[in-house]
Each structure stands twice: as structure tokens, then as C-alpha cells.
Subunit: 134 residues, 2 copies
């Protein structure tokens, strides 16, 4: 379940909306974009988003209540590394990266504290290089 064509109709519509966007979208923004495709209610969006999150095709940005298409689907699908996001507060652009050392340090803390982690969020808010110089 990693290819676009195996998605259901609603899942494809939502994923494509995120894929063609140049930044994160809120669930309600997606809903508005898909009105012409028959979307009427938030739940249609949220259900699709849930599945796409399951499949690892998109990410949720907790600090801004928005969603982005995964930038490096191949890289992540294999490794179990944590993904960090740098979110520009001016232009909204999101950069995605993962760092084995950070992943290792987090794992070290969880192991030594008996904490079973299920999902880890790393979000850096700030101003990107483009917007910083402008």
C-alpha cells in the first residue's frame, strides 16, 4: 500500500491536494479545495488523512495543525528514524530531515527510562534562509 493508484477515491483526492501544494495545508483548506470533487464534510478529509498517515505518505505538523505530503517517501519507509521538520513562519515552507544521532539520543532516553515510544514529533519553528535575507 505505497502507490497512489492503490488509494481509494477520497484518499487519492486528499493526497493529490497535499502533493500539489507547495506547503502544509489544514484539513479545512483541503476540504475547500475538494468541494468541486464532491467533498461536503470534514470527516471525509479526516478519514482520508488518517489512512494516509497510516501509510506514511503524509505527515501531520502538530505545532500548526496542518498536513504535508512526505518529502522523502523512499528514505523513510525503510529506516525507523525520527523525522524533524523545519517550518518557516513567513512563507510556510517545510523542510524535512532525519538525523541518526538525534534518533539515537531519544532512544537512549526512552530505553533508560522504560518509556515505550510510539510517535515522536520534532518541529523547528523559525524563518528559512530565503525569508531571512529578504
Amino acid at each position: 500500500m505505497t502507490a497512489t493508484q492503490e488509494l481509494t477515491k477520497n484518499q487519492s483526492l486528499v493526497f493529490n491536494a497535499l502533493a500539489r501544494a507547495d506547503g502544509p495545508l489544514s484539513a479545512y483548506t483541503i476540504l475547500d479545495q475538494l468541494r468541486n470533487d464532491g467533498f461536503r464534510a470534514p470527516l471525509q478529509v479526516y478519514r482520508a488523512l488518517d489512512k494516509l498517515l497510516d501509510y506514511g505518505m503524509i505527515h501531520r505538523l502538530e505545532s500548526i495543525n496542518a498536513f504535508v505530503a512526505c518529502a522523502h517517501p523512499h528514505t523513510h519507509s525503510h529506516g525507523h528514524g525520527m523525522i524533524a521538520f523545519a517550518i518557516c513562519e513567513k512563507c510556510g515552507q517545510v523542510s524535512e530531515f532525519s538525523d541518526d544521532i538525534i534518533t539515537g539520543r531519544v532512544r537512549e532516553w526512552t530505553n533508560s527510562n522504560g518509556f515505550k515510544q510510539s510517535k515522536t514529533t520534532i518541529e523547528i519553528r523559525g524563518v528559512c534562509a530565503n525569508c531571512g535575507t529578504a
Copy 2:
């Protein structure tokens, strides 16, 4: 502006609500707890929370839309290290720690990408040691 007695009335009420709680509270939970103290509207809570965040006395947990009193006020007030939170999804308990290596790796990424970070969120969701064995 680090001592409790320098806070305004509303700020003190909100901070004390968080300080005596054994875990994170949502803004609306705080509001309900402070009805008897004259609180009527969400904004009274949110305004106090904003200030307390400014002062570094509390933290916002982005992934669960809740707030906690800072566990180690002395440690953090000096260093500029990022704080990580481990949030138990069973009991709600939050552990706070900071790690210089993680801080350093994040800084390395932001420096080499010209990204000016303003605030960084690290939240580990999972099950704590107590709940994992129970």
C-alpha cells in the same frame, strides 16, 4: 519576572492550577477549575497562559493541546537548550528532559541551512514505565 508573587491575579490563578495538577491541563479544563475564582471566558485563561509561556514558567504541549508547569525552572532559565517531553498516553504524566547533543544537532542543521529557529518542539508520545508494566 520569575517569582510567583510578581504575577498578576489571573496569571497566579492559572499558574497555580497547573502547578498543583499532576499532569498537563487543557485551557478549558483550567477555565472550569477557575470558575469559582471568577473566570468566565477562555480569553482570561489564554492571556495568562501566553504570559506564563513568555516567562518560561510553563510549557505548551503541541501534540495534545495542553499546558504543564515547568518541571525544572532553574535548569532551563539559564541554558538555551531545547526541552524534550515524554508524554504517557495512558496516565498523562509528562517527563521533561533536555539533551545537549540533540540541541547541538538541531543547531547544526539550522546553521547549515540558514534557518533562524525561534522555538523547537520535541514531544515523544508513548507509554511510561509505570503504565507499561501494569
